[in-house]
Symmetry: C2
Subunit: 139 residues, 2 copies
């Protein structure tokens, strides 16, 4: 993940996906991708963070639209481990997760931390799109 003060990189990225680099999208890009470490979030938490300090607001509809657009474009990964709520991941590499049932937080497990020595063949006519391990943890 590259840290940048200017937004040229995001402008290009968005253009390459046929997404206009609007000020809302760039603000969200900056928040999501201008950091050393990837992280997990929900629309709810993203909305709070984006609309925190007195800056110009981004509507909830746009937060939803943007998260959806970024997921389709492959900038985000959707994680379905929690009931009634989608999580998103700025780490788009293939990897696994711990899911803490208490705190409802996801933690990455690097791809290499889990080794599958035996995997079944998918049903006839179907292809494997991805394989993910979720380890549910508790106190």
């Amino acid at each position: 993940m590259i840290i940048s003060d200017n937004l040229k990189m995001y402008v290009q990225k968005l253009r390459s996906s046929n997404l206009r680099p609007t000020k809302q999208r760039l603000k969200i890009c900056k928040f999501l991708f201008d950091r050393k470490k990837t992280f997990h979030f929900t629309v709810e938490t993203l909305n709070k963070k984006i609309n925190k300090s007195g800056t110009s607001k981004v509507s909830l509809a746009t937060i939803y639209n943007t998260v959806e657009a970024f997921t389709s474009a492959g900038y985000l990964k959707e994680i379905l481990t929690s009931k009634n709520k989608s999580y998103y991941d700025t780490n788009i590499k293939s990897h696994h997760h711990f899911y803490d049932e208490g705190s409802k937080e996801l933690t990455d497990i690097h791809y290499s931390q889990i080794k599958l020595s035996k995997v079944p063949v998918p049903p006839k006519g179907k292809k494997i799109k991805n394989l993910e391990v979720v380890i549910r943890i508790q106190k």
Copy 2:
């Protein structure tokens, strides 16, 4: 899974979990567990099946209550692989799943069909509650 014409077994099972064997719960037990093979369902599909033919109706609230009670009691397993909707599994043994993104159907992968030769240690103070592999498939 034992097939039974009489309901004594379910009555006992329910009593042992401090659940009164009401006619609604027994009807749902019969539908869920009186079969050779386990299966996956949603509250929506269960509700339709339970309330199909002219028999006395079970309210949707009771379907929800019962699925929740049976999951807590360990008769059902909740599967969170789909957006905005919980799936449930009458197979409560530890096992894995194919999830078909097209048909939105789950298929069991027997525990022995996947071998994990390397698994990470959980974070300090946390215990592994379960580990599940989901293989998303597509045409």
